[in-house]
């Protein structure tokens, strides 16, 4: 799946997931050790050409499954009659990763293929875990050269092993509400809109000021300052880590730019003071009630807007190019070494992430592929989204993808981002904390809570 919202997954997580969260807490280790840990994959006899079951662990929506996805499992099983594929899916990306870490540490309960989110890939390739994974450049016949170079680099360990094959990436645009833009006397055509802020996030803030002057009552320009922070940092060549991959958020020009932009938006009252993926559903409800005019929009966000704004708002939203191209999210498939069928699993992972399959998943689920040729293929380039008034999403997102400058990542990125957004920006936005004090508080949190 694609969001890197690190503490909590994404999307439609409301009451039910909160209940699940408590269930997790209540059952504690029972869940971590028990569920899905029936580790024997080889159900048949061990002789050659035997029947085997390959288990694949995912989170969110990868779009592979046989019911709502691209039916890739059925296709693979048909071509390989001796293989049966079982997917076990967890909704919340953070809980999925916590469980996976525990299982990796004990080499038990692991699926044959495990999906990894980009927010945790630095931890997975780090010294504590690098040896737990199969080198997919050597095993399984995956064509590493087919992927975007930076995507491969993210999943490469210090000694050159490729532990994950890319699924999707998260090139980002800005989704905007045409209705609100028209009422605020802003242009509504997507090229005109993109021109308002092209090249600089400061222009985005300036557009917000213009919006505010004649904005409809009760609406804000942007959904959340923390979401804006996330969008800006995603477009920066230097983020939380230095070139060596060490955490260095305090001196990072990218963090400063994102922080200043988000603080300007919060102080200027340009945001609806929401938190993205808020479990209480306030953020979700704001889509339907048109409480804000813009939201940073990786391709997977279009699905959330469609679901939350609902059919009555069809045609009201559109997508424009972002001020600066950035990447928000994206995942990998990795194969734990300890699995009984590591070779077969690596082959399946290579097949699932091959360009042809990327194109199929894009067609069904809208995940922007991480293979070079698929990005430029007609299937992606010509793709349109009816809900957004037949916006050429494929074109917008593949252009954004071409402009992405990958930043070095560190093992602590996800955590530091949570502190910066949930305890820093959100605090300024919702509680009016002084920005300088909020920044000090973030520094204290990082020093106190990250055991480097």
């Amino acid at each position: 799946m694609r969001t890197s919202s690190s503490r909590h997954g994404r999307g439609r997580r409301t009451a039910i997931n909160a209940v699940a969260a408590v269930a997790v807490m209540a059952t504690g280790t029972a869940l971590l050790t028990g569920c899905g840990s029936d580790g024997d994959n080889g159900k048949g006899d061990a002789a050659g050409g035997e029947q085997i079951t390959l288990r694949i662990g995912t989170f969110g929506s990868f779009g592979y499954d046989n019911t709502t996805g691209a039916k890739l499992y059925a296709e693979y099983e048909k071509a390989h009659p001796n293989i049966k594929i079982e997917e076990s899916n967890v909704a919340d990306g953070q809980k999925y990763w916590d469980t996976l870490k525990l299982r990796l540490s004990r080499d038990s309960g692991l699926a044959d293929i495990q999906a990894l989110e980009v927010g945790y890939i630095a931890e997975a390739t780090g010294p504590a875990m690098a040896d737990k994974w199969t080198d997919l450049a050597k095993t399984g016949g995956g064509d590493v050269g087919a992927f975007l170079d930076w995507k491969v680099k993210q999943a490469t360990t210090a000694d050159g092993k490729v532990i994950g094959l890319g699924t999707d990436i998260g090139p980002m645009a800005i989704c905007y509400n045409k209705d609100l833009f028209a009422q605020a006397k802003l242009p509504t055509d997507r090229t005109e809109v993109a021109k308002l802020w092209a090249g600089d996030w400061a222009k985005f803030i300036a557009t917000g000021e213009t919006y505010k002057k004649s904005a409809p009552a009760g609406t804000a320009f942007h959904d959340s300052a923390s979401g804006l922070f996330n969008a800006v940092i995603s477009s920066q060549p230097v983020q939380y880590a230095n070139a060596k991959g060490e955490l260095d958020y305090e001196n990072s020009p990218g963090v400063k730019k994102a922080w200043d932009t988000a603080v300007a938006a919060a102080k200027g009252e340009l945001t609806a003071k929401l938190r993205q993926f808020d479990e209480k559903g306030t953020w979700n409800a704001a889509f339907k009630n048109a409480k804000f005019a813009t939201v940073a929009c990786p391709s997977w966000m279009t699905g959330i807007i469609k679901d939350q704004a609902g059919p009555e708002n069809q045609g009201k939203w559109d997508i424009a190019a972002p001020p600066v191209a950035g990447n928000w999210g994206g995942s990998f498939l990795a194969v734990p070494k300890s699995g009984k069928h590591a070779k077969e699993a690596a082959e399946l992972a290579a097949w699932l992430t091959a360009p042809a399959q990327h194109a199929k998943v894009f067609g069904v689920n809208g995940n922007i592929p991480s293979t070079k040729d698929t990005l430029t293929s007609a299937a992606v380039q010509d793709a349109k989204l009816p809900y957004f008034g037949d916006t050429p999403v494929g074109k917008i997102y593949s252009e954004a993808a071409a402009g992405i400058t990958p930043a070095p990542i560190s093992r602590w990125d996800g955590q530091v981002k949570t502190f910066l957004t949930d305890n820093g920006i959100l605090d300024i936005e919702q509680r009016g904390t002084d920005p300088a004090k909020a920044w000090e508080n973030v520094k204290k949190l990082v020093d106190d809570k990250i055991d480097q």
Partner: protein, 320 residues
């Protein structure tokens, strides 16, 4: 067992020495075998985690990594961590504003239920209903009620003319909201405990008091309260322990920022801090240190309780 030894040894009885050894073994060892399952389970699921947590608290540990010796550093860094003190203070304030009204209301409820009234059984079951509700379900309902933008409570406040209260992002409103959930859940439970104690109070005391012209309220203060004092002390302790371990309510009430207890840690309790350290940032050693500090705190509270009970006993004895 004893008989079976005799039966199998049948015709040629074993030498007297061996027999008495077996007999003694039977007498001494078998009871231990019978109680062993409990102690083995306790050792595996109670004692081992306790000791292991203690060991972890002296190390720097991450899931999947190996442990490095740190000595008491995890503890000393807690002493200087403002987040720890903040969590401790929050645990205390939330504890006080939930425990005190909860127990007072429980006393009142129990007193009412103690009267002969129609449908008493129904009311007794009814007060226990909140306790039977799951924390998750109750908190979700309250989180909706207290929702700043769409919640019923702010809507009602709006009718009366008040500004909407930021129930989750302001410190005291958030703590009060959480305390409300705790109070709602536990009041009935405590009321039933008080009721049981009140029913054991001899009726003659009330009759005597009534003859002396004491009002209902006077009877409550001078007869009921002193008679059930040990029970009150018990509920205070149990509630204090519950408040110290408060976790589910703030966690769920905070929604997406529940683990950190709100954006400014304004309602982060000790348990939440421990969870955040252990599971979110992966510092298992520090999380273990917090667990041990909580255990020590509870032992301290238990110790104080014992002292109070003892002094109570003494006072009673010297008084009578």
């Amino acid at each position: 067992m004893a008989t079976s030894v005799r039966a199998t040894s049948g015709g040629s009885p074993p030498p007297a020495g061996l027999r008495s050894t077996l007999y003694r073994l039977d007498l001494k060892a078998v009871p231990y075998v019978f109680v062993a399952p409990f102690f083995l389970t306790f050792a595996a699921f109670g004692l081992f985690p306790l000791i292991y947590t203690g060991w972890l608290s002296l190390h720097r540990v991450e899931l999947g990594g190996s442990a490095q010796w740190k000595g008491l550093e995890n503890y000393s860094s807690l002493a200087t961590s403002e987040f720890f003190w903040n969590a401790l203070a929050n645990t205390f304030t939330i504890g006080v504003i939930s425990t005190v009204p909860q127990l007072l209301m429980a006393l009142g409820l129990a007193h009412l239920l103690n009267y002969k009234l129609r449908g008493r059984g129904f009311f007794r079951v009814a007060v226990l209903a909140p306790y039977a509700t799951s924390i998750a379900a109750a908190t979700l309902v309250f989180a909706q009620l207290f929702n700043t933008d769409y919640g019923l409570i702010n809507t009602v406040l709006g009718w009366v003319g008040f500004d909407p209260v930021a129930w989750d992002s302001s410190k005291w409103p958030a703590q009060i909201a959480i305390s409300t959930i705790v109070t709602w859940r536990w009041t009935g439970y405590n009321a039933l405990i008080y009721l049981a104690a009140m029913q054991a109070v001899p009726q003659d005391l009330y009759e005597a008091a009534a003859l002396d012209g004491a009002s209902r309220w006077r009877q409550f203060l001078s007869v009921t309260i002193p008679s059930i004092r040990p029970t009150i002390l018990f509920t205070v302790i149990v509630s204090t322990i519950g408040a110290t371990q408060l976790f589910g309510e703030p966690m769920l009430f905070g929604g997406s920022v529940g683990i950190s207890g709100g954006s400014g840690n304004q309602f982060q309790t000790l348990s939440l801090l421990m969870y955040e350290k252990g599971w979110v940032t992966g510092a298992l050693g520090q999380a273990s240190a917090i667990a041990w500090v909580m255990l020590l705190l509870l032992l301290l509270i238990g110790g104080i309780q014992t002292l109070i009970t003892r002094s109570n006993h003494k006072r009673k004895k010297s008084g009578s």
